[in-house]
């Protein structure tokens, strides 16, 4: 009897927790179809006008494109650096490995606002004008540690014998990387790309300091919040992003599970 009571309590807790987590998010698509400029109950009626307005709003579309560009570049570049760094850390008996890793991981723990200000000071000193490029560089800086973490956990699960076997069969260091390490690290690379892309895509603080004339999406949305008649456009945009990220995450999870299965069969682990 007591057992069931305890489980019931847990279920109630779980439901409340999930509601707390997701209800606010679900309000966004809900109000994006609401035929009213005010975000308040009761709902007025169904409309697609905010979506039309969103597409018509040039600045919004441009900032979305900016963010996609920056996030893609950040994802690719930081994943390359993160992978190479992770390879160095896991592969070789690097002397002074621990301090090197700690050093690379520092941006991980520095508050974004501090990083933003210091980068702004730095580029001013160097005489560089803030632009999407500087935003991208700032994002790469914070994205590399994330990529490195993901790649370290993937590469540590790899058997070192496999790379040695490749060398033994006549391949050099570089072709061993392409023929063995890379394909086996691919699930990690995909995960790192997704993670760093998202990181850059919704990053606000650093972008706020480093952005120039061209705004990224979070900066644009922030500027729109002051204009209440544009708010429903933002909701429509939010709903689109929500839908897109749900699809991407589902895809990533699907890939991860498929790899997990074949890894387990081949005794690879991780």
């Amino acid at each position: 009897m007591e057992q069931t009571k305890r489980i019931d309590g847990l279920i109630v807790y779980g439901v409340i927790y999930l509601g707390f987590l997701y209800l606010p998010i679900l309000l966004i698509p809900l109000f994006s179809f609401n035929d009213s400029i005010y975000i308040a109950f009761p709902l007025k009626g169904f409309t697609l006008q905010w979506y039309e307005a969103m597409i018509a709003q040039d600045a919004l579309v441009r900032s979305l494109m900016n963010s996609l560009k920056v996030a893609s570049a950040v994802a690719v570049i930081s994943t390359i650096f993160g992978t190479l760094a992770a390879k160095a850390v896991t592969g070789y008996n690097l002397r002074g490995k621990a301090p090197v890793v700690a050093f690379i991981m520092i941006p991980f723990v520095i508050p974004g606002i501090i990083l933003g200000i210091s980068l702004l000071v730095l580029i001013n000193r160097l005489g560089v004008t803030p632009s999407l490029l500087t935003v991208g560089l700032g994002h790469i800086m914070i994205a590399i540690p994330f990529s490195m973490m993901v790649m370290i956990s993937r590469l540590e699960g790899l058997d070192r014998d496999l790379e040695e076997a490749s060398m033994d069969l006549g391949e050099g260091v570089w072709s061993t990387f392409w023929r063995v390490t890379f394909p086996l690290a691919l699930p990690g690379i995909v995960a790192s790309l997704l993670l760093t892309f998202t990181l850059s895509f919704d990053e606000f603080l650093i972008a706020f300091f480093l952005t120039g004339k061209e705004a990224t999406l979070p900066i644009f949305i922030f500027s729109q919040l002051r204009l209440s008649q544009k708010l429903p456009n933002v909701l429509a945009l939010g709903s689109c992003i929500l839908a897109a990220s749900t699809v991407v995450i589902a895809a990533a999870e699907y890939i991860r599970r498929r790899n997990l299965r074949s890894d387990r069969q081949s005794g690879l682990g991780v």
Binding site: A165, D168, G170, E171, R179, P183
Partner: protein, 368 residues
């Protein structure tokens, strides 16, 4: 003509920080030989193999393969290939791709490549398995894929690190026979690591016994078993009875030793062991060389009477432990059960029996 000293390991020492994995190792392997490295866990077998493969470089000393110094040759340019302890089959490639992995640089035409792979699959008896992924193979099949992958490279030397260690006993015995047959078929020099002495004895042309990074003895299986050079080797390969004694007389072909409670023991002398008069020696005798009888055999020496303290029946043979008055440890005897069971000649516990052994079975070792 097969070359002698095809592989030469000269005075190789390897240190990992403070750990000394190998100490002044000298080994020569002839071309086409099946050569085993035998020793307990941690004695440096894998380290020596990895030095031959080029994954580690010796702290001191040099390795020559086919007369060529190897220190400046990286692993991917050495004329050797390795079968890893866990096989290291590429999990993202199928069997065919695994076997073809090392051939890419040769840029063979497609038809020729296919023919090479097909021949390899036949050799390892895995025809029709070409499209399988490594996770769809059994342990023995993986082992054979690893073998084929190395052999298609036509190495001068194949290095195998406990290739049968992960297999169960039955498969292991089958693979021992197959591997040996394969080696004779392809004629490649095999350097084979194992810590299983029976495996080493049954498969190898010669064996190097290692202990704590040092080579104790390099010899044929027969000589290693019959004529170990030290108590350590004798202990590692099979079991032996040891009794201390003092040399009484040295003849041209016979050495007689005063062995205290064992009486006078005469040993056939060979070219290697010629201790002088009065020298302390360790007498070593294999359990199966000792004959047991109720009646006193009609021999002048190499004879002692004792009481059976334990007898265990193992079907084809029986193991006895015989207490000899004045001797610290009981003598182990393994006797073949040639006569039918329960025959009165068989020894049982607390029977008093005569033990005797031929002079040729006595090995004289340096004292401890």
């Amino acid at each position: 003509m097969r070359k002698r000293n095809f592989i030469e390991v000269r005075n190789v020492t390897k240190r990992f920080g403070r750990v000394r994995a190998l100490h002044s190792v000298d080994i020569e392997v002839n071309e086409g030989e099946f050569f085993a490295l035998l020793g307990p866990s941690g004695c440096g077998k894998t380290t020596l193999l990895r030095i031959l493969a080029g994954f580690e470089s010796p702290t001191e000393g040099e390795v020559f393969i086919d007369g060529q110094a190897m220190s400046a040759v990286p692993a991917n340019r050495r004329p050797v290939n390795m079968v890893f302890q866990n096989y290291a089959i590429f999990p993202h490639l199928n069997v065919r791709q695994n076997i073809a992995y090392g051939l890419r640089r040769q840029r063979l035409p497609k038809a020729e490549l296919d023919a090479v792979i097909e021949r390899a699959l036949v050799l390892i008896k895995l025809e029709g398995f070409g499209e399988r992924r490594s996770d769809q193979l059994s342990g023995g099949q993986r082992q054979r894929v690893a073998l084929a992958r190395a052999l298609v490279k036509q190495p001068k030397v194949l290095l195998l690190d406990e290739p049968l260690g992960a297999l169960d006993k039955r498969l292991r015995e089958q693979m021992q026979v197959e591997l040996r047959a394969l080696q004779q078929e392809v004629g490649v020099t095999f350097v084979f690591v194992t810590h299983d002495q029976e495996e080493a004895l049954s498969m190898s042309d010669r064996i190097a016994v290692l202990s704590e990074g040092e080579v104790l003895q390099v010899d044929t299986p027969e000589r290693l078993y019959e004529r170990p050079v030290s108590r350590e080797v004798a202990d590692f390969i099979g079991t032996m009875n040891f009794v201390e004694g003092e040399v009484e007389g040295v003849d041209t072909d016979m050495i007689s030793v005063d062995a205290g409670p064992l009486g006078r023991v005469s040993a056939a002398s060979d070219e290697r062991t010629r201790p002088g008069r009065g020298a302390r020696v360790l007498i070593a005798i294999r359990p199966e060389k000792i004959a047991v009888s109720r009646e006193r055999p009609d021999v002048p020496s190499n004879l002692v009477r004792g009481q059976v303290s334990a007898a265990s029946y193992l079907g084809d043979r029986s193991h006895l432990r015989v207490d000899v008055p004045g001797l610290g440890a009981p003598i182990s005897v393994a006797s073949q059960n040639i006569l039918p069971l329960l025959h009165s000649a068989h020894a049982a516990e607390s029977d008093a029996m005569w033990l005797s052994w031929p002079a040729s079975a006595v090995v004289l070792l340096p004292p401890e």
